[in-house]
């Protein structure tokens, strides 16, 4: 049955439950059953790919930790290719499709546009991902994630990626169609909720991103079949990174939307200013599109003017967007906590926040690791000239393990602590271990990121099997690679724990249908406090002001220290 044809009633004040949906026993929200099914399918696949990528991660870290040096050389690059695709593409895209299906239905009380289209999307994505993984493990695609031409993989590698990309586009189409139908049928009044707005921004960027993927992968596929001549390697780099980097902006958007969502679920936070929060998402959509330039800053063939313009495209307005969210998200939590009566000093609200809630802990760690490590290093390394002392070193890897893993993956994990009880309707097993999991994973990734960044500052290349061949790297380098290795062990333990918790709960967790989910811990309102009491106080978030001031100081110190380091190397034009 296609839900496309089933009429959705216009929303009165207290709507009857639309056909094909249920009311959530915890939140009272409407859950579309078709969307629920595909949220489950996509989320389960996402966790499976995360698990595969995590097993690969530990093999890689234990190889680059020179004291261990586990894998043989061919398997190192094979597993590196496997790790990149499973983590950066499959885990993230499957989870994002689940997030899109949720945000276009439940908050809008809408029905997913089409069950058939959702099946097509899912089947394409899954078959593409399986095809890619199979061809990598057979050793026919040792080309790493980027598959830079003239390196050439088996055609099935490119075909699989095209399938995943087009399948995702089909899912994104389903999202937009659902938004359109919901608006047309007036399932909601006025503007859409902020979380849906953020997801829409992510979906818009995803369309642009995946089109880049199609533009670069189709001629590469036809070349690998011998049908067309080889595309230019520089052209390939430019368009590929339109896929590779922009897809990370999709992650940022989805992650920020999740921050707002968890902040609300755990502390009752609401956006301090809807205009500011929405405006920041619009900035992402408008000003993020040439981030591919960050990978071409020391390339031949593109000049200084091109590099500088595209680096700071419209004065870093996308960076501004992240800095705005970095303020408004903690500010919304602070205001909510203060309204609940936790007003002691600058940081009393931090102390009484629901830290035992793994979703909350994961969200806060995600925010801190993404902002303080990922954001600051990203903007600095992406500065045109500073890139000379960073390009293709482990500094880059250190940066994106803070953004994509410590930021996005951890936020996705955090959300899962609500997705499974609310969508799969089973309460988590091993709740004590679950409370520990975000700290293990976040702490481990922090060490990985720092170890990589420092080793990279000492000149250690990324994607490199054995730095001993050069004979120039000293004990400090090996210390930092060791830090990375220890961090990876901790993070992968956290990841395995997450996978066991998810699978164990879906199979054996106590069913919670008919009653609210077991509470992870939400912020309590003290006696005498009143919700909304600080709505008009625009200076209530004093602790957040202090935190963001520290952030800006760290940013400035790191940024100018890098200019100083650059000034010390040989003059070059």
């Amino acid at each position: 049955m296609s839900t496309a044809t089933s009429p959705v009633p216009a929303a009165p004040v207290r709507p009857a439950l639309p056909a094909g949906s249920r009311r959530c026993d915890t939140t009272g929200l409407t859950v579309c059953l078709t969307a629920e099914k595909f949220i489950k399918l996509n989320a389960v696949c996402a966790v499976v790919f995360l698990l595969l990528g995590g097993i690969a991660a530990i093999l890689l870290a234990l190889t680059r930790w020179q004291a261990v040096h586990l894998l043989p050389v061919d398997w190192f690059y094979r597993i590196l290719t496997f790790h990149g695709l499973n983590m950066l593409i499959f885990w993230i895209l499957f989870f994002e499709v689940a997030v899109l299906y949720f945000t276009c239905t439940t908050p809008l009380k809408a029905q997913l546009f089409s069950r058939k289209i959702a099946w097509v999307s899912f089947a394409m994505m899954l078959s593409g991902a399986v095809m890619v993984n199979a061809i990598i493990i057979q050793g026919k695609a040792d080309v790493l994630l980027t598959s830079y031409l003239p390196l050439l993989a088996h055609p099935a590698f490119y075909l699989g990626i095209i399938l995943v990309a087009v399948g995702t586009l089909v899912g994104v189409f389903n999202f937009f169609a659902t938004l359109y139908v919901a608006k047309r049928d007036r399932t909601y009044e006025g503007s859409m909720p902020l979380v849906t707005f953020g997801a829409t921004a992510a979906a818009i960027i995803a369309v642009v991103t995946l089109l880049h993927g199609a533009i670069v992968m189709i001629p590469t596929f036809t070349y690998s079949m011998g049908w067309t001549p080889q595309p230019d390697p520089m052209w390939y780099r430019m368009i590929w990174w339109g896929l590779g980097h922009q897809s990370q902006q999709v992650n940022v958007c989805a992650m920020v939307a999740i921050w707002y969502l968890i902040a609300h679920l755990a502390t009752g936070a609401k956006p301090v200013n809807e205009t500011v929060c929405r405006g920041a998402f619009v900035l992402y959509v408008l000003f993020i599109n040439l981030a591919s330039a960050h990978h071409l800053l020391v390339d031949p063939g593109v000049g200084s003017a091109w590099k500088i313009w595209n680096t700071s495209y419209a004065m870093y307005l996308a960076v501004l967007a992240s800095m705005i969210h970095g303020f408004t998200v903690p500010a919304s939590v602070e205001v909510a906590m203060r309204e609940k009566g936790h007003v002691k000093g600058l940081f009393g609200w931090v102390m009484s926040a629901p830290w035992r809630n793994p979703a909350f802990a994961g969200f806060v760690l995600s925010l801190l690791i993404f902002g303080f490590i990922g954001g600051i290093t990203g903007v600095t390394l992406g500065t045109q000239q500073i890139n000379i002392i960073a390009h293709n070193t482990l500094r880059i890897t250190g940066h994106f393990h803070a953004t994509v893993v410590g930021g996005t993956s951890l936020a996705f994990m955090a959300l899962t602590y609500y997705v499974i009880p609310l969508i799969f309707r089973r309460d988590f097993i091993w709740r004590g271990a679950a409370r520990l999991q975000p700290w293990l994973f976040g702490g481990g990734i922090l060490l990985v990121s720092l170890g990589m960044s420092f080793a990279g500052s000492l000149g250690v290349p990324r994607r490199h099997y054995d730095i001993e061949s050069a004979g120039i790297y000293g004990p400090a380098t090996h210390l930092f690679l060791g830090v990375m290795g220890v961090g990876a062990i901790i993070a992968v333990v956290g990841l395995l724990l997450f996978a066991v918790l998810c699978v164990g709960t879906i199979l054996f967790g106590e069913k919670n249908a008919g009653r609210p989910m077991a509470d992870w811990g939400t912020a309590r309102a003290l006696v005498g406090s009143r919700a909304g009491s600080l709505a008009e106080d625009h200076w209530a978030m004093k602790g957040t002001v202090a935190l963001t001031a520290v952030f800006l100081a760290c940013f400035a110190v790191y940024y100018f220290a890098n200019w100083k380091a650059l000034a010390d190397v040989w003059p070059v034009r």
């Binding site: 929200l29 690059y77 439940t106 908050p107 040792d142 830079y148 031409l149 909601y188 006025g190 909720p193 902020l194 390697p233 520089m234 707002y260 969502l261 609300h264 956006p271 301090v272 200013n273 205009t275 800053l297 390339d299 031949p300 063939g301 590099k307 500088i308 680096t311 004065m315 501004l320 800095m323 705005i324 303020f327 408004t328 500010a331 500065t383 045109q384 000239q385 890139n387 000379i388 390009h391 293709n392 000492l458 000149g459 290349p461 994607r463 099997y465 730095i467 061949s469 004979g471 120039i472 106080d537 625009h538 200076w539 004093k542 940024y559 200019w563 000034a567 040989w570 003059p571 070059v572």
Partner: protein, 174 residues
């Protein structure tokens, strides 16, 4: 709340602390935007991406001619070439070696031509940690002034197949 519909009149200009933060963040973004053009004119380290189209065969020919004409020694079967101060130097990246070894003089400026014969390679000069991309078909020209003496190592930092980690080159500065 972020999951519920916003109030009808949700449009409100930023005020108080959020207004202050947006102002500060915007100012910082402005500073960062200005730093790059500033360094382009006043700083000494820039990546202009100066490049010319070249066929790998032609680049190999130029480099071999350069190495033969400027050869001052040999190490491990690879010629050591010393270009004239202010002159052109050629360096090839290929699976899995850098060719030739270059000998430069401190304080002199050279036009260093980088290109690849097969796959993409990464020119990573250690321990300075200066990194540039090397592509087949592109003659990437760096106008380079060594300001320190010693033996410098070129590590390849773009994946180029199974022998990638063995691709080590040298630049000697006197």
């Amino acid at each position: 709340m972020s999951l519920a519909l916003p109030d009808r009149d949700w449009y409100k200009a930023p005020a108080g602390a959020d207004k202050l933060w947006i102002g500060l963040a915007l100012l910082w973004c402005f500073v960062m935007s200005v730093m790059m053009p500033f360094w382009h004119f006043r700083g000494k380290q820039n990546s202009r991406g100066e490049a010319y189209a070249v066929k790998p065969v032609a680049f190999l020919e130029r480099t071999e001619k350069f190495a033969a004409a400027n050869k001052v020694g040999e190490r491990g079967g690879i010629p050591i070439a010393e270009p004239a101060p202010g002159g052109d130097a050629y360096l090839i990246g290929r699976m899995w070696s850098w060719y030739p070894i270059l000998k430069l003089r401190q304080g002199e400026t050279y036009r260093l031509h980088l290109s690849a014969l097969d796959l993409q390679h990464g020119f990573s000069l250690q321990p300075l940690n200066m990194n540039f991309q090397v592509l087949p078909g592109y003659d990437h020209v760096l106008t380079l002034t060594p300001t320190s003496k010693g033996e410098f190592t070129i590590v390849c930092n773009e994946f180029c197949g199974i022998g990638h980690d063995k691709m080590i080159g040298k630049i000697l500065v006197e």
